[in-house]
Amino acid sequence: MMQFRLEKRAEPSKFMLYATPIAAVALTMLVGVILFSAIGYNGFAAVGEIFLTPLTNPYKWQELGVKAAPLIIIGVGLSIAYRANVWNIGAEGQYIVGALAATWVALATHGQGGFWILPLMAVAGAIAGMAYAAIPAFLKTKLNVNEILTSLMLTYASVQLIFFLIRGPWKDPMGIGFPQSRRFDVAARLPNLTVENFGFLGDGALILKGLVERVHYGVPLAIFIALVVWFIMTRTVFGYRMRVVGAAPHAARYGGFSQNKTIWMAMLVSGGLAGLAGMLEVAGPFQRMVPGFATNYGFTAIIVAFLGRLNPLGVIFAGFVLAITFVGGQIAQTTMGLPDETTGIFQALMMFLLLAGDILIKYRIRRVQPDARVGAA
């Protein structure tokens, strides 16, 4: 019988580092076919609708951008934190309070108008996200309380905060009893891209018309943020420091890098970006605060960060991959009656397969011939 054995590589494989996320996506589709066939669906059709239709139908591309934007922004922040070994898994809560702060600005400036409202909402969202992330950061640095549990508990609390505000103080007076805030003024809504933005393309811009109508400014902003963070992390002392503290805490201490400062930075940056993503969502697609605002983007972004190998450029790629599963999940729901939750299973499968593949970075698989083994021993 053939046997396999793991052999430690002298150096981590760069090739595997980047090949395994792609393999994880491909294998997810394969496992998906098997899994969905096993529970009585047409597995090939399901995987096709979820993974391919969003790509082959150009009118779904803008949906991909709209879904990918918050995932990329939150995922970039989380990748910084995870690199520094700071386990902020409460991004969902920071995303929610960011959106609540932005909503507060929008409601407080209702009827005023002005170009400054959107920037103010963005600042409020980012600060609120930071403030919410500061709680686990404080507890971690001062009292060594596990940041995983505290950031997550705060997420559950933030969902209740949405309910409290939209049932009470922020309830839309015109909402016929619905627990939701009033719709934001135009000045507090994130505008969509228009064909005029692409004027430099001349007549070619018209081709874009149908493809950009639903894409708001948060989408290009998300990619811009990822590029800026990539530059900071790879080209500046700050980025170097964050990476060293995560990879080798002892060396970092010798190098005079304070661990506490790193925890603070990691939490504030990831919380601030999650808060900003919350502002972009509430001012963009939602345009008001509703009970269903907790969309799980904060949790999905954990998968985005890992699938993107904690690298901002990889996060752009991973953000679009996860966006495909969201958009494809909706397509499969209407065309095949596949339940909404299917998306979550594909996302989790991707994460499992990615984590399983990680072993190939540090180890190689060697085939061991039974007779050769005696000689080797």
Binding site: V145, M153, Y156, F163, I302, A348, M351, L355
Partner: protein
Amino acid sequence: MDLTIAIIVTVVGASTPILIAALGELVVERAGVLNLGVEGMMLIGAVVGFIVQFHTGQPLLALLAAAVAGVLSSLIFGFLTLSLSANQTATGLALTIFGTGFSALIGANYSARPVPLMDSVLPETIADHPIARVLLGYSLPVYFAFFMVFAVWFFLKKTRSGLILRAVGENDHSAHSIGYSVLGVRYLAIMFGGAMAGIAGACFPLLLTPQWAEGMTAGRGWIAVALVVFASWRPMRLLFGAYLFGLVMTMEVYIKAGGGLFSAIPAELWAALPYLATIVVLVLISLKRDASTNAPACLGRPFMPGN
């Protein structure tokens, strides 16, 4: 008197699933593994328990099926973190995301359909007596939880196998070098944790609300993980912690009924209270951290034999 009894009965009910899940996680962590997938395994246990109860009406079968489902889902975690030495934190999170989606998928056709709750162990007529009601008026999982507190304590403290499990959690390399299978022990511990989380999940439809609802465990699995820290990895303290939480979770109903100052507090704050209380408890426990409240030394560290 009636109100007191009602409070005790509700608190015991609410505490039971947290206690069962936390006991499982305690054993896992004592073996040096951090499985953050408790919430996901509980949801899988809840939906499987519900479905079996719905179709067979046999609560014991439902609990057993939930335990098996918990073990199977814990094996995904075990394989990744033990055999492939994947990052435990990330794998546990993935397991929770998986359990949330998977349970919602297979439970999609069962929403809002009622099942019978488990009967209490005593016949109704005897259970009418207040003292009998408080002591013996519960269904089986409540006594199972009590029994397991003792059993886990006895196992860890008094048995040879328990000693080996603790050795694996405190110093995996020494345990390995004197010939114990670190990965074998950890696999068994993880499966035990999975079975307990599955049973804990099934307590939701069988004991608390007689139906299946998406995400019905509502973060209780995470509170169970936090309770293990609160109990500083000791089963008896876990018992105390779980009942404290049961009290916090059910306080709302009775204080509202009693009226007065507290009834002015918004419902959403009450709903957020268990989560906020968890944070407070974690802070309090960190303030009095000493040698007796330390985590197992190898907690969360991957182990590769032969390296």
